[in-house]
């Protein structure tokens, strides 16, 4: 979102928090900050007040590209009906150990 800089409004950042070592960063929400340095600090203050995080990412909201929701059918259709990509598709080996 490229807001015109009236009243010096601060840009929007998306915040991702890793709750403990070994896990992925998960989207926690967003906030406003003048720059990335302050965005990180604001994210720490806003999204980890109760020990929720061990690591925080911030990303300018307008740097995120997302898939078009209205092309849902096309975009995600291909992976539908391809059960052979899943282990459960292969039933002959049932009862055989370590397979």
């Amino acid at each position: 979102m490229s807001q015109h800089n009236v009243d010096a409004s601060w840009p929007l950042y998306e915040v991702f928090v890793r709750s403990s070592r070994g896990l992925s960063h998960v989207h926690a929400g967003s906030l406003h900050a003048p720059d990335a340095t302050m965005a990180l600090r604001n994210a720490r203050d806003l999204y980890t007040r109760r020990n929720e995080g061990t690591s925080v990412w911030v990303v300018p909201s307008d740097a995120i590209s997302s898939s078009d929701p209205d092309s849902k059918g096309g975009f995600f259709e291909s992976s539908q009906g391809k059960a052979f990509r899943h282990a459960t598709y292969y039933t002959k080996s049932e009862g055989v150990k370590h397979l």
């Binding site: 409004s9 601060w10 929007l12 906030l31 406003h32 003048p34």
Partner: protein, 336 residues
């Protein structure tokens, strides 16, 4: 994420697309699934959400004031600490809700402008003063208690960012109501003066807290639509009844009474009956005649205006830094 094209003020050529969008929207609602910001949605749905969510955000931010009023005078260091954490949470909750609202394409700056210009409303309960320390307890117990009653079903609101914000808020807020009840408990088990202070606070906040659920269902024309859209899950009166049923035993545990002579258990209904609320007062507070309407707005405006130079400075610094980095990169290119 932030914004995407979700407006339905589309040219005629897009009518098919709109019809398809409406169908998918209806289907998602029928399945009780969730709408994401980038999904097509009817303009009325979007407007309703922007109004409701921003009012909710404004209420959190304005709602900081009555309690913040007592931070410097809290009667013990532990209570001071808890109160700071609670008012801080309210700022946080306001921020969660503003950012959830922003996903609908309205920047926070605009939402704040609507609040400061008096175009947007906030919960009228915050136009009552926190006169005594016991009011801090009553606000926690009754006002936050009513808010939680409202908010828990909103965790399942069809608009996903709203639901997600509410989940986080409800989790964090679970301590708010308890700490309020505990303040009143200490007072009602303290000196007679302390107990009187607690009773007085409950007397003043009981009615306005019950009004937080909004007007009676017969006078609440928008509720039907909100329920059809799975934004609202229970009617105003249903939520109010649940709240009354919940607080009666809690008041007994406090050793305090609720100021309603008509309050009594109705065996047949399996609920407490309670008296008519003063809706004239409610309307007049909404219209700006509450004890603190002017003060609350003035406080918020002052914070915003006094902070303008700071926000400008930070933005200017960020711009300078970006330029410096660019210059450094250019120099590097030339040098290479």
């Amino acid at each position: 994420m932030s914004t995407t094209s979700i407006h339905s003020d589309a040219p005629v050529a897009d009518l098919d697309e709109q019809r398809a969008g409406q169908e998918r929207f209806d289907q998602i609602i029928a399945e009780d699934s969730r709408i994401e910001p980038s999904d097509w949605m009817p303009e009325g749905y979007r407007k309703t959400l922007v109004r409701q969510m921003s009012q909710h955000a404004h209420s959190e931010i304005i709602g900081m004031q009555p309690e913040a009023n007592w931070i410097t005078r809290a009667p013990s260091l532990k209570r001071k600490m808890i109160l700071m954490a609670k008012v801080q949470d309210e700022a946080g909750h306001g921020l969660y809700l503003y950012s959830a609202t922003e996903t609908l394409g309205v920047p926070r700056e605009e939402l704040v402008r609507q609040l400061l210009d008096g175009e947007a409303k906030y919960s009228s309960i915050f136009n009552y003063p926190a006169m005594t320390w016991a009011d801090v307890g009553a606000i926690g117990w009754l006002v936050d208690g009513a808010a939680i009653q409202n908010q828990v079903p909103l965790c399942r609101a069809s608009f996903a960012p709203y639901g997600r914000a509410m989940v986080r808020i409800c989790k964090e807020e679970s301590f708010h109501q308890r700490q309020g009840w505990e303040i009143l408990y200490e007072l009602s088990h303290g000196t007679p003066e302390q107990k009187a202070m607690a009773q007085d606070a409950v007397n003043r906040f009981y009615g306005p807290a019950l009004q937080m659920f909004g007007p009676p269902d017969d006078d609440s024309p928008n509720s039907q639509q909100s329920m059809a859209w799975n934004i609202k899950r229970f009617s105003n009166d249903e939520l109010r009844q649940r709240f009354v049923d919940m607080i009666v035993p809690q008041a007994e545990a406090l050793g305090l009474t609720l100021p309603d002579p008509d309050l009594k258990w109705n065996e047949e209904r399996g609920h407490y009956d309670f008296g008519e609320l003063d809706w004239d007062e409610f309307m007049s507070v909404i219209k700006g005649k509450g004890p603190c309407n002017v003060q609350r707005m003035q406080h918020r405006r002052a914070a915003h205006e006094n902070g303008a130079w700071v926000r400008e400075a930070a933005a200017a610094y960020a711009e300078k830094q970006a330029r410096r980095q660019q210059d450094a990169a250019d120099t590097h290119l030339i040098g290479a």
